[in-house]
Symmetry: C2
Subunit: 324 residues, 2 copies
């Protein structure tokens, strides 16, 4: 009898909590993923509870590519890089005979990327440096206003995940401070993350090139240089978190092996922690990929998530809609 009473009360509590969350997470199907999120948030925000976390320590970190917006058939920033190469080509006649630029100008993406990460970094440098920070901000905004995804034909900023937008807002409504921690370029994200995600520039962590302060005719500018400063991916993510945030997150959200160390770092803190992987399982509405993908590979991370009981979102069954 006592046991069934306890069970009933607990069921009522869980039901009550879930009902409240349903308002804020309408694009999430009821299921274990949604329940895990709501249970965690309820625990850390319940005053006097053993898992209570004071508001200033409610730090939540989100990967961007594949976690907040799509990343197929390649990172959206790569499309930006290719478009910039085309736009800058008149000023660089030598690119016609120089790889990987020549392939990009011929529209041969596959050959352009044959050089792997080195080629991509080379192209990123050539297209991301040489301007002031303010000029670059304008270039990114102008590009996003007109560029369209090759398959969906939609603006890239419409290919953000509605359930994740709701999750960001739900966490903030519960006193969390939400950060992006992405392998993407920090200054490629900042021009639009506040408007699209509600995440201000000072809460964006990403990869970066060096910048240099100069007085040009007495006017101070920050010039972007063709030298890597920081790569915010893999083991770099906890380093970037410490550098920018300076305390360990209590919740971390990713979708690939490049997020694994961020999730490990988060999970290893004392007290309640929450780690979640978005698993791309929906070939009809988005893309289905994991262990074999060259973009956003989720292999070791999937094993570790299962071993450690982290939440794995099944995009196909957990999400009512995908894009906003």
């Amino acid at each position: 009898m006592r046991r069934s009473l306890v069970t009933s009360v607990m069921a009522l509590l869980v039901w009550g909590t879930a009902a409240f969350a349903a308002d804020l997470l309408p694009s999430w199907n009821d299921g274990s993923s949604k329940r895990a999120v709501v249970d965690f948030v309820t625990r850390v925000t319940t005053p006097g509870g053993r898992d209570f976390v004071p508001q200033p320590e409610r730090i939540a970190v989100f990967d961007n590519d594949g976690t907040l917006w799509a990343e197929q058939p390649m990172y959206f920033q790569a499309f930006f890089i290719f478009d910039r190469i085309k736009a800058l080509a008149p000023q660089h006649p030598e690119w016609k005979d120089k790889e990987p630029f020549a392939s990009v100008l011929k529209g041969d993406v596959k050959s352009a990327l044959a050089g792997g990460e080195y080629a991509l970094v080379e192209m990123a440098m050539a297209t991301h440096a040489g301007t002031t920070t303010e000029e670059f901000d304008t270039i990114v905004k102008d590009w996003l206003a007109t560029a369209r995804h090759p398959t969906t034909k939609r603006p890239y900023t419409e290919m953000v995940y509605q359930p994740m937008l709701e999750l960001l807002a739900y966490l903030r409504a519960n006193g969390f401070k939400t950060f992006i921690v992405s392998g993407g370029g920090i200054e490629f994200m900042r021009p639009w993350t506040e408007k699209i995600y509600g995440i201000p520039p000072e809460q964006v962590v990403g990869s970066s090139i060096e910048t240099k302060f100069e007085l040009r005719d007495g006017k101070p500018v920050l010039v972007r240089l063709p030298e890597m400063n920081f790569i915010d991916d893999g083991a770099g993510k906890p380093v970037g978190i410490q550098m920018h945030i300076g305390r360990r997150p209590v919740a971390a959200f990713g979708n690939s092996d490049g997020d694994l160390q961020m999730l490990q770092w988060t999970a290893a803190g004392a007290g309640a922690r929450f780690c979640l992987y978005v698993h791309h399982t929906d070939a009809a509405r988005e893309w289905a990929y994991d262990r074999q993908s060259s973009i956003g590979r989720l292999d070791k991370g999937l094993d570790e998530a299962k071993a450690k009981g982290w939440t794995v979102v099944d995009m196909k069954s957990d999400w009512k809609v995908v894009y906003r």
Copy 2:
């Protein structure tokens, strides 16, 4: 008649504003410095006014050494470094015969610092690296709990400026987000800035050494390495601001030539901007120094402040009290 009416109304408005501010800035004498601060805050927070700044863009940056707390007879972090050298000496028998460590161990600060910045960086590396980030956090907190300033005999965290604490709170009450942008070590400041200044770790920008993510027996740690990552001083300050904050401040507060580029960068933005130098003029209650000082030299900055009409706080006449 009309003119005198307008004047009277304006006087009333100014009086009304100042009276309000007086509640929040009780340690500031009425005068041009206080008036300049209050006028600026009133202008940028008045909806519909031509200088109105939306709340998310109200970024205010503060130098730390000499601006929020004292910095004489040398930077407080240098005292920390010397104490660490003494604490670590048993593990480093070679230091007895190696400069600058040998001089520190003999209590000869002057000789220890004879090597200039190079010697200081060398000592900083030797004492700031080799631990995990969490161990270092504890070391700093433990040191602050017991260390005393050689002259005042007070804990260092009591040598923060009461008028600046009020200014921080006044800005935050008006929707500003307050950041520290200091040449000091970022991880030397973070353990205490939230408690003392109300500035959380994620709003602290400073100099840093490299860190590395490692799994130690399966437990993730961030290890501090003896390599400089970033020097957040002089022309580095606008770079640090862009890296961490990603938008230009509307208000900047400093006390030395090392803050000049930060103030220039702030002042050069479009719209209303506010730049303020704390001028150390009070040999009785604190210290008096500017153009000739090796610590916190204010020379070029003082000229530029006068030329550009920035606010220069005369510590002796503007502040009713100095320390909290």
